[in-house]
Symmetry: C2
Subunit: 205 residues, 2 copies
């Protein structure tokens, strides 16, 4: 690898955002195929590759997820008081309405693949593998000029029933994917005055 | 972003490995500084940036971590029988002895930053943010021709005492960092016949 790789990765990291403002135009199927292929290259404990992606096209399912978000977000807002509560309610925290692609990303917590290697003492390594695959998709999307938003303000238990997944599957993320309405090199929550960027805490011991 | 970015990211993904075979030569401090800076660009729930990195130089602490791994790995080997047990014991699963840099990466599960945004219903989003930061470091290291190995065969509880971390910090990963003894475009566990690569499971619903 050389300077070209380092510069390209730096660009991707600087311009990758958690996107909540999407344009509604569709994403080309070939682009989605390349995002899926990028996930094939993500790291996985024991090479188990436990991520299970559902591309949610069904309108009723999308509406149910949106209602789940809205209820969870209303409850979350209630923990704040005064100015913080006002500010929280003014933030746009998900792009579920406009994003053309919704992805429910699950982790199989008991996959045959990998035969248990690397996850006896830290079984959370399976979900962590899925997170690395999601981050891989996120960077690959940024390289395709596609935005991704991770919706975590959800009550995950009812979603297992909604999608009828096996009992061993847990929801890791619900992603909105589409063309971002704008590009920005600074997180929205920093720009909105909710939480400034902080530097990585790094000690030598 | 253009084709240069897509090609560079593809190279990084193809050639990123979980490295267990390291050369012992030191890593330049400026390179480590760039890896730390890359983590500053990682995504984080509520922009909370809950990762806490400890660069472990102390020989006694390194020896204790290595002993923790060896005990956990011996217990893990006991779950296999026959040929699988033989194969498991033949795998090199950590490069703790040779890697010049050890990083213990913790997650603060109760950070002030972010003020709780995005993690009321899925508190695991904090550890997931740390995982994305680790994957960011991993790719940045690959771009610098530095290898990273994620050691997950550890009993995490005693490590909290060993490092004297606050009660709210959990171990997310213990990383070996150094020059890789070889480059490869295929996971070691695939090459060793433990677990072949599988394609990403992707359904439309």
């Amino acid at each position: 690898m050389g300077q070209t790789h380092r510069d390209a990765l730096a660009d991707l990291l600087v311009w990758r955002r958690d996107v909540r403002h999407f344009r509604t135009e569709a994403i080309d199927g070939a682009v989605l195929g390349r995002l899926r292929a990028a996930m094939d290259r993500a790291p996985a404990v024991g090479n188990a590759r436990p991520w299970r992606v559902m591309q949610v096209e069904d309108a009723a399912k999308r509406a149910a997820v949106t209602a789940n978000f809205e209820a969870a977000n209303a409850r979350a807002a209630d923990i704040y008081e005064g100015e913080a509560a006002q500010k929280y309610r003014s933030l746009k925290l998900a792009g579920l309405h406009d994003a053309p692609v919704h992805l429910a990303v699950w982790t199989d917590t008991a996959p045959a693949e990998g035969a248990g290697l690397g996850r006896q003492t830290m079984p959370e390594m399976l979900a962590y593998s899925t997170v690395a695959a999601i981050h891989t998709l996120w960077l690959a999307a940024r390289a395709e000029n596609i935005g991704v938003g991770w919706v975590s303000i959800l009550d995950p238990a009812p979603l297992k029933d909604l999608f009828g997944v096996p009992a061993t599957w847990d929801l890791t993320a619900y992603l909105c994917v589409g063309h971002a309405a704008e590009d920005a090199d600074t997180p929205l929550l920093h720009r909105a005055g909710w939480q400034d960027n902080t530097a990585t805490h790094w000690d030598v011991v």
